[in-house]
């Protein structure tokens, strides 16, 4: 494949293995531990880092405090905080900053103790909020849970396109099948005391407890601890690294929010993905791997459409029949690590999309697609039915 842009590549990755640290580690410690492993994976040193990207998720250790905590003096600092999509934004910015010659080795880290803190994510409860703001004042009184925002999209998608609960369930089924092949995901589900650590069926999903109609328990992501790190480097650095580079070929960014008359079945991805694919010079249909942010099954269906794997409203038919399995023989394979639904969701899982896409391009996934050469990672942060951010990263190997 003729790769157009080559100004930056993912050269180091690490997924922090524990999903429940039982209160014995902080987010910042998870970030530091992951950074050390990802730099070792790349064959680079702590002191090689000259650009630091942080989503300010680790309590007081945000931005400037993170550089201090790590003990590094980067030339580029970026504290873009876009919820779960922050890491796709960071990868986009690292490509830009390295391409402009402002840095050579970019470090992205993530750490969360959402599980230990019993924080509300997947099936969790209401959002509290102090202080006054127009957003809080217009939204605080209605009992809008996180999942409810996604359920609003799912209901409208069903109304507008005839999408069924069974079609949404297909996404949970294929993701669980991939998770069962990933020992870290199996351990995660075991450690988090899932009732059944096994492959699931469409019936398991739709017969499950309803959390917010039309979304059932197994339509929702897990709540785990976790974290990870990604190292992105300039071509001359990448040439000396331990693994083949996963080139960042294209990047796109967007936000979406509730507006009068807006079609909420269309996410920010419909704006960010065409930018990323245009820059990469490839089409969605060429991608072997689709790492789509799976906070809920409806997120994936919406993103598959918006990223361009099928038309708007066609997602229901597109996901049927195990088509997205790694071994289906059709492109793309979806969330081959087991995703947020069945492997790892500490609240902001965008970094894992980059990590698993890189594993696939290296040939190292536990659900490896033979010869995988092109991958897309799309992060979605915030609330799909309301205020959210989307960023698309297209990755390819030599």
């Amino acid at each position: 494949m003729a790769l157009k842009e080559r100004d930056a590549a993912i050269v180091g990755i690490h997924e922090f293995p524990l999903r429940n640290v039982e209160g014995r580690m902080t987010s910042a410690q998870i970030k530091a531990a992951s950074a050390e492993r990802a730099l070792a994976d790349a064959g680079l040193k702590w002191s090689d880092v000259d650009a630091l990207y942080d989503a300010s998720e680790a309590g007081d250790t945000t931005g400037m405090a993170l550089a201090e905590y790590f003990g590094i003096h980067p030339r580029v600092l970026d504290t873009t905080a876009m919820g779960g999509s922050s890491y796709e934004f960071h990868a986009s910015h690292a490509k830009r900053d390295i391409g402009a010659g402002r840095a050579k080795v970019a470090l992205l880290t993530y750490g969360s103790t959402a599980r230990s803190d019993s924080r509300a994510i997947g099936t969790g409860g209401g959002r509290a909020g102090g202080g006054s703001s127009p957003l809080r004042n217009m939204e605080v009184s209605w009992g809008q849970t996180l999942i409810a925002s996604y359920a609003l999209v799912a209901r409208r998608h069903m109304h507008q396109y005839g999408t069924t609960p069974e079609q949404l369930a297909e996404i949970a089924v294929v993701t669980r099948a991939h998770a069962m092949r990933n020992p870290e995901a199996v351990k995660a589900m075991t450690d988090l005391r899932f009732r059944d650590v096994r492959e699931i069926t469409v019936e398991d999903v739709v017969k499950g407890r309803m959390i917010a109609d039309p979304l059932h328990l197994l339509d929702c992501c897990m709540i785990s601890d976790g974290g990870g790190a990604v190292v992105i480097a300039a071509p001359e650095v990448a040439a000396g690294c331990r693994h083949k580079p996963a080139w960042i070929l294209g990047a796109g960014e967007a936000v979406g929010y509730s507006e009068n008359g807006r079609d909420i079945t269309v996410s920010a991805g419909a704006q960010s993905a065409p930018l990323a694919f245009a820059q990469a010079g490839v089409r969605p249909g060429q991608c072997d791997i689709a790492m789509m942010y799976d906070s809920f099954t409806i997120t994936v269906m919406t993103l598959l459409e918006d990223v361009g794997f099928c038309g708007k409203g066609e997602g229901g038919a597109f996901v049927q029949g195990g088509r997205l399995r790694f071994d289906s023989g059709t492109k793309p394979a979806l969330n081959t690590d087991g995703g947020g639904l069945s492997s790892n969701h500490p609240g902001m899982r965008g970094i894992f999309l980059l990590i698993e896409a890189t594993r696939q391009l290296r040939g190292d996934s536990t659900s490896q697609v033979p010869g995988a050469a092109l991958a897309v990672a799309h992060g979605n942060g915030g609330q799909l039915g309301g205020r959210h951010a989307g960023a698309t990263i297209v990755l390819g190997r030599d």
């Binding site: 509300a120 099936t123 969790g124 409860g125 209401g126 509290a128 202080g131 006054s132 703001s133 127009p134 957003l135 809080r136 004042n137 217009m138 939204e139 605080v140 009184s141 209605w142 009992g143 809008q144 849970t145 999942i147 409810a148 359920a151 609003l152 999209v153 799912a154 209901r155 409208r156 109304h159 407890r209 309803m210 959390i211 917010a212 109609d213 039309p214 979304l215 509730s258 507006e259 009068n260 008359g261 807006r262 909420i264 039915g385």
Partner: protein, 137 residues
């Protein structure tokens, strides 16, 4: 002791203060732009289409249709945990603005709720403000 009452807007808050003050008189207000005619909602100090700060405040008839909804069956919040199952909806008012709210007054939301259902505002008084909830029209 966790607060088991419904969360309410809080003040001072310059953008939404006039909207909430009007609710005490059971007026559901929205804004239109004097320069370009756009409907602005949620309430703000500027037009979201053209940036003009010349906005008129109008009173809605309080009638519209359900754009989408969900029936929330799980919520850990001390108040809302006592309300489940309840209906969260986006309502499109006939004047062209969309609002988050609850649809109340249904015997069986799972059976009776429909996208596109006609609804009318139903006020829930809380002293200084009233919350615009909706009932089937």
């Amino acid at each position: 002791m966790p607060d088991a009452s419904r969360p309410l807007p809080s003040f001072p808050e310059p953008d939404t203060q006039a909207f909430w003050s009007a609710t005490a008189a059971h007026e559901l207000r929205y804004q239109t732009c004097r320069a370009c005619g756009s409907v602005v909602f949620y309430p703000r100090g500027h037009c979201t289409k053209c940036g003009s700060r010349e906005l008129d405040s109008r009173v809605s008839r309080g009638e519209g249709s359900v754009y989408t909804y969900t029936i929330v069956r799980q919520n850990g919040h001390p108040f809302f945990s006592t309300q489940v199952p309840y209906v969260l909806a986006l309502v499109d008012l006939d004047e062209g603005f969309r609002i988050y709210s609850n649809v109340i007054g249904l015997d069986d939301p799972g059976r009776d709720m429909q996208v596109g259902m006609r609804v009318r505002v139903a006020w829930e008084d809380h002293g200084e403000v009233a919350l615009p909830l909706f009932r089937p029209a």
